[in-house]
């Protein structure tokens, strides 16, 4: 049995101070299998992978490669043992070419004094062959996120890896791009490469993986063939409790409710044009589309974070077309960025200060001084409402898990009692439990009269959460789906423009 395992982790234990991150965890990776690893944030997935990659050392336990004990002291050593790791956060140098990025490790070992660019380019071309259509001479920073992901994978493959770890590779991809990635994975599998695939998305796991291992609270819960289990079961094992329905009930009455926010003929002169749609009272409206279709740009523009060349925004019949974001906030329309760490929260600042960032004046006295008790009261109130888990309100946001960081970002928006909230990928990189909580919060907000607009690349989420969705293709509204017509097939059809019936509804 053990000789057919490409990699085996035996009884791995690891503690960070008082926190037991991994407790006697074992995992076997068969040759040529795609092995899904799931668990909520904090379950120990990243710690286990970091141990396999030599970034961390285990307190106890062994790693075996091809049945032989391996002492992995560094990522470089892991590379030599044939382990490739594609991290969730893309780590490419944006200012140099794709080819140079791919051959970074080779360049590092190179003895010759001068670079051989022709050779570098050839290597890159070979590594990219069969992965995707990426120009080795383009700068990495100019590529889309999915293309960057392909470069990351190519980079890992040039190191002759036989074991590939993919940490949430689809988090930043659209369905179609993810589809390409799965084709690549299938091809790698045929080459005999074993893959550890970390993801929160059940559909992907059940469509593309062979086995699935669940971790919870640093312990191994189960390893099953996907054929012998189902998503409900896996989710239950991850969370350790029954989640009930994955998505909160929809609001059928919203289909006939009054229009709250109306966007008319929004153009920015470059990324999108003639965008008109409306948001009804009590409704959660989805915006679907491929990455790069202009969804984020439309959201930014409607909140005044990006200039527009023409178009109007009406809220409750009043023209509020914003010239700046502060104007939009004053009118009651706020935006949650898709880039949580880069633009959503201040990771080094305390939780309380994060929550008051949108309107420090609200927790300040008339004299212009912040009143700490008021700031803390606001943070405690919103934190309780969103079931935020924290140690102290003075702790930096960096001490929180991804899901709780996102709750801080949402609490910040709620601090101004907004009328409309535009959320860009609100559950990206958030674990299953927190995701369901965020969906619940959004539905509660919608029911109490706050307009909710959600951009999501994850179609099951969009369909499960939203009452209605508009689909953007190449900067224009390609269509609208509602009720039973809101299916993955229909949205993909509209988003990609295949077999389009042509009849733009708005």
């Amino acid at each position: 049995m053990s000789e057919s395992l490409a990699l085996e982790a035996r009884n791995i234990t690891k503690a960070f101070g008082p926190v037991q991150a991994l407790n006697d965890v074992s995992l076997g990776l068969r040759k040529g299998e795609i092995h899904a690893l799931v668990g909520e944030n904090g379950a120990g997935k990243s710690t286990l992978m970091n141990i396999i990659d030599g970034i961390l050392r285990p307190d106890a336990g062994d790693i075996l490669i091809n049945g032989r004990k391996a002492d992995i002291a560094s990522p470089a050593q892991a590379q030599r043992l044939g382990i490739g790791f594609v991290h969730q956060e893309i780590a490419l140098c944006p200012d140099i070419t794709v080819a140079e990025n791919i051959s970074m490790a080779a360049t590092n070992h190179r003895r010759a004094f001068l670079m051989n660019y022709a050779e570098t380019r050839e290597h890159a071309r070979a590594a990219l062959a069969g992965l995707g259509d990426v120009d080795p001479d383009s700068k990495a920073g100019d590529l889309s996120i999915s293309e960057q992901q392909i470069v990351e994978i190519a980079k890992a493959l040039t190191l002759d890896c036989s074991i590939l770890i993919l940490d949430e590779p689809t988090a930043a991809l659209t369905e179609r791009e993810a589809g390409k990635l799965f084709q690549i994975m299938a091809r790698l599998k045929q080459r005999g490469i074993s893959i550890i695939y970390i993801s929160h998305r059940m559909a992907e796991i059940f469509d593309h993986c062979d086995r699935v291992t669940v971790l919870r609270d640093g312990r191994h819960v189960s390893t099953r063939d996907v054929a012998q289990t189902d998503p409900e079961d896996i989710v239950r094992r991850m969370v350790g409790r029954h989640l009930g329905d994955l998505y909160p009930a929809k609001n059928r009455a919203s289909a006939t409710a009054d229009v709250m926010l109306a966007i008319e003929g929004l153009c920015d002169g470059q990324r999108f044009s003639d965008v008109s749609f409306s948001l009804r009272k009590g409704e959660i409206l989805g915006i679907a589309g491929l990455i790069g279709a202009g969804r984020t740009e439309i959201a930014l523009s409607l909140c005044g974070l990006r200039p527009i060349s023409s178009g109007k925004v009406h809220l409750e019949g009043r023209d509020i077309t914003p010239a700046s974001y502060p104007q939009s906030i004053a009118a009651g329309v706020v935006y949650l960025s898709e880039d949580r760490k880069g633009a959503g929260v201040f990771v080094d600042l305390p939780i309380a200060a994060n929550i008051s960032a949108l309107a420090v004046e609200k927790v300040s006295g008339r004299s212009g001084f912040v009143i700490p008790s008021r700031e803390r009261a606001q943070a405690a109130r919103l934190g309780a409402a969103l079931k935020l888990k924290y140690g102290s309100l003075d702790d930096a946001v960096s001490t929180l898990s991804g899901g709780n960081q996102q709750k801080v970002a949402i609490a910040k928006l709620l601090s101004v009692r907004p009328k409309v909230i535009v959320l860009d990928e609100p559950t990206r990189g958030v674990d299953v439990g927190a995701k369901a909580e965020i969906h619940r919060i959004l539905r509660d907000l919608a029911e109490s009269g706050t307009g909710i607009i959600v951009i999501s690349s994850e179609l099951p989420e969009l369909i499960g959460l939203c009452d209605r969705a508009i689909v953007i293709r190449e900067g224009r509204i390609a269509g609208e789906v509602e009720g039973s017509a809101m299916t993955e097939e229909e949205i993909i059809r509209l988003a990609s423009g295949v077999g389009r019936k042509d009849g733009r509804e708005a």
Binding site: G42, A343, V347, A385, T450
Partner: protein
């Protein structure tokens, strides 16, 4: 009951009565600095009988009081994620402009106000370059360091302006005592107290932290980060102008080469005190303690008869040691803490 009721409801009881520690980890650093300074003082009190005297302490305080006013501005600037290399030149510029107007017949108080206004204008020019053209403050202030120094030389014709005719009432600012305490030290203490409080509590300065911590997130919170940066750059230059005027009163002269290299000492103090060159962190109290540490070291080196040729090298090594020590300590603390999952 539902989420929304709680959001709009009244505040629940806040557990724990701990005071709001806005600075969090910063407090630890300040305590550490105090301990290092005390330890150094203890050692020095054995090494030299002159060290633990009021005269020596007064001299040390005096030596960094006026510079300390500029440190305040620099700390604010570092927190917002910018830097100003021109402060030494601007201090000198303020001195020279004040002296020039005084010699031209203006009363010293009006001349001083003009000097401070002129310094603020330098800040405005720099701020425009940073926020409108989009240049980095390092480059802009490097250019202005040279430009302003040139202006000082041009105004004075390269020779010091002698200001012995300054009235005693004005010289009192730089040379007088109140109950035996130099006025300079009192001004310094007041400025530090005011800005330390403002930085922790004033809404405006809170936006400085937001902008420095994550500019994009600040913009996405509706903060006009350009205005915040503008304000900080002008504030720093203005405080440099104030310092220049006090120097003028203290020395009764305006030397066009005064303040060369001052910016480095000032940045060093702020960084030892916990300001990060990446922005988002720093405190006035810490920066002043950093300044005090540098001053105690300088004083010790002199009392120990260390060759002046070696003093700069030793000061530089101490700067490096202090910052490295803190960095290592900080990283260890971070490594020991449970890391947020999924990273």
């Amino acid at each position: 009951m539902s989420t929304m009721d709680e959001i709009s409801g009244s505040a629940p009881h806040i557990r724990g009565g701990r005071s709001a520690g806005w600075r969090g980890l910063g407090n630890m650093r300040e305590l550490g600095l105090v301990l290092i300074i005390l330890a150094l003082c203890a050692v020095m009190s054995f090494a030299s009988p002159y060290f633990l005297t009021w005269t020596n302490f007064r001299a040390m305080l005096l030596s960094f009081s006026i510079e300390g006013i500029v440190v305040v501005g620099m700390t604010v600037l570092l927190i917002v994620g910018a830097i100003d290399l021109s402060v030494g030149s601007v201090v000198c510029f303020s001195m020279v402009v004040g002296g020039f107007f005084f010699l031209a017949g203006l009363d010293p108080w009006s001349a001083s106000l003009l000097a401070i206004a002129a310094s603020a204008m330098i800040g405005v020019f720099m701020a425009l370059c940073v926020t409108r053209i989009g240049l980095h403050s390092f480059i802009v202030s490097l250019a202005f360091m040279v430009i302003v120094r040139g202006l000082c030389l041009a105004i004075t014709g390269g020779t010091p302006l002698s200001l012995f005719s300054l009235p005693a009432s004005f010289k009192f600012i730089g040379q007088g005592n109140i109950y035996g305490i130099p006025v300079v030290i009192i001004i310094f203490a007041v400025v530090v107290a005011i800005f330390d409080f403002l930085l922790r509590r004033a809404t405006v300065f809170r936006k400085v932290f937001y902008t420095g911590s994550n500019e994009k997130a600040a913009q996405y919170s509706g903060i006009r980060t350009d205005r915040v940066k503008f304000f900080c750059i002008v504030l720093c230059a203005t405080l440099a102008g104030v310092a220049g005027v006090i120097y003028m009163a203290r020395f009764g002269a305006a030397t066009p080469t005064f303040g060369l290299g001052m910016e480095l000492n000032i940045i060093a103090a702020a960084v030892i005190g916990g300001a990060s060159l990446k922005g988002g962190s720093g405190s006035i109290l810490g920066a002043i303690l950093g300044m005090a540490l540098l001053s105690v070291v300088s004083s010790s080196l002199i009392l120990l008869d260390v060759s002046p040729y070696w003093q700069d090298t030793i000061r530089g090594l101490i700067l490096l040691a202090a910052v490295s020590f803190d960095h290592v300590l900080h990283n260890r603390r971070m490594a020991g803490a449970p890391r947020p999952a999924g990273q």
